[in-house]
Amino acid sequence: MIPASFEYEVATSAQHALALLAEHGEDAKLLAGGHSLLPMMKVRLAQPAVLIDIARVPELSGIRVDGDEIVIGATTRHADLASSEVLAAEVPILAYAAAQVGDPQIRHRGTIGGSVAHADPSADLPMTLLALGATIEITGPAGTRAVGVDDFFTGPFESVLQPDEILSAIRVPRHRDDKAGAGQTWGYQKFVRRANDWAIVGVAACDGRVALASMGGTPLRAHATEDALRSGASIQEAAQLAAVGTSPGADFHADADFREHLARVLTRRALEGRTG
């Protein structure tokens, strides 16, 4: 399959990309790794007239520490997250989650910003960033705005990102070891039937926040579980509430009841600090 024709522009800076977006309007799409966009263009689910390549903009890439946050440039690839020493030390759940995306080839191309902007409710990184309480940094014509991840996703493949804006960075809170040497408390569960599939249900748990993938139109917090944990409930008891308030769909992998069951079981495992 070959995408429909488009014009190709290479942005040299974030400002240049913004100018190109302003020039071409809603007919334009940003291209980084292209691992969500190009498959959609091949099957004509997306047919932009102009692609603006931001993969060569240095300021949009890389991982750096900024005070109490780690700032991850939008075009930082999954492979770079997975091998990042600072993430391994301070936000290990994010390095682990990045290593669960697709396969090695996909991780060499796909980017964190692309994954978040794509807003797939079954994807690894949106769920993980929700569990981390990340902030999404968006740059537009009027400057930069910061949106909490809880407010970013609005529906399946939909977010608050506007056509004239760039998702420029992701900010995650640092988890420096406390004096007792305790790091992040986290667990990660992704239920798939075949290697390299999307999560039939996924759960990311980190320091009392629990996020679910494939349990509704967006990645979702398991608020009832979190509230129960804060009230002193056991992991077993709290995990029983994981599907409360969710609206999972049905497909040939699983019906809604099975997904709710999976959410409860996987949430318990994630809260026990298990990965898999």
Binding site: F6, Y8, L31, D103, P104, I106, H108
Partner: protein, 171 residues
């Protein structure tokens, strides 16, 4: 049309291409390098795997223009200068790491990329490292043996031809 300048198997290339041209089609149709196969065409099967600046990628999901200024290596490019098979290719031959052969160029490049990142992989790391490559003949055991054989050869641990073909691989 957009100009691309890149290096393919060590040879500098410059071509005018349509922006929508996929890297795999550029390699196969424009350059006549037919090792990389189009299997699923959906970033799943890995038959189109090539190296981009030394890292494995699926060339059905990369635009030729995205490879501008970069170095591409295909299975043709890992053949020795005298025309004999490269180390990874020879390991696939010794371990009978192929049946129909359609997935093999992608497997060879995925293994080449894997061993560049992790020269001493465990069997489990080989299996996970080849997660993005499907063999529909399901010849995975011998493919894993081939990858471990290649790793041993590249480490200089084992002279050519001395890795036993029944290397223990768990089911």
């Amino acid at each position: 049309m957009t100009e691309v300048k890149l290096t393919v198997n060590g040879v500098a290339r410059s071509d005018e291409v349509e922006p929508r041209l996929l890297l795999v089609h550029y390699l196969r149709e424009t350059l006549g390098l037919r090792a990389a196969n189009v299997g699923c065409d959906t970033t799943s099967c890995g038959a189109c795997t090539v190296l981009l600046d030394g890292e494995s990628v699926k060339s059905c999901t990369v635009l030729a223009v995205q490879a501008n200024g970069r170095a591409v290596t295909t299975a043709e490019g890992v053949v020795n200068a005298d025309g004999t098979l490269g180390v990874v290719q020879q390991a696939f031959r010794e371990e009978h790491g192929l049946q129909c052969g359609f997935c093999t160029p992608g497997m060879v490049m995925a293994v080449t990329g894997l061993l560049a990142e992790n020269p001493r992989p465990t069997e489990q790391e080989v299996r996970e490292g080849l997660e993005g490559n499907f063999c529909r003949c399901t010849g995975y055991h011998n493919i894993v043996r081939a990858a471990l054989n290649a790793a041993a050869r590249l480490q200089g641990a084992v002279p050519s031809g001395t890795v036993p073909s029944n290397t223990e691989v768990s089911a």
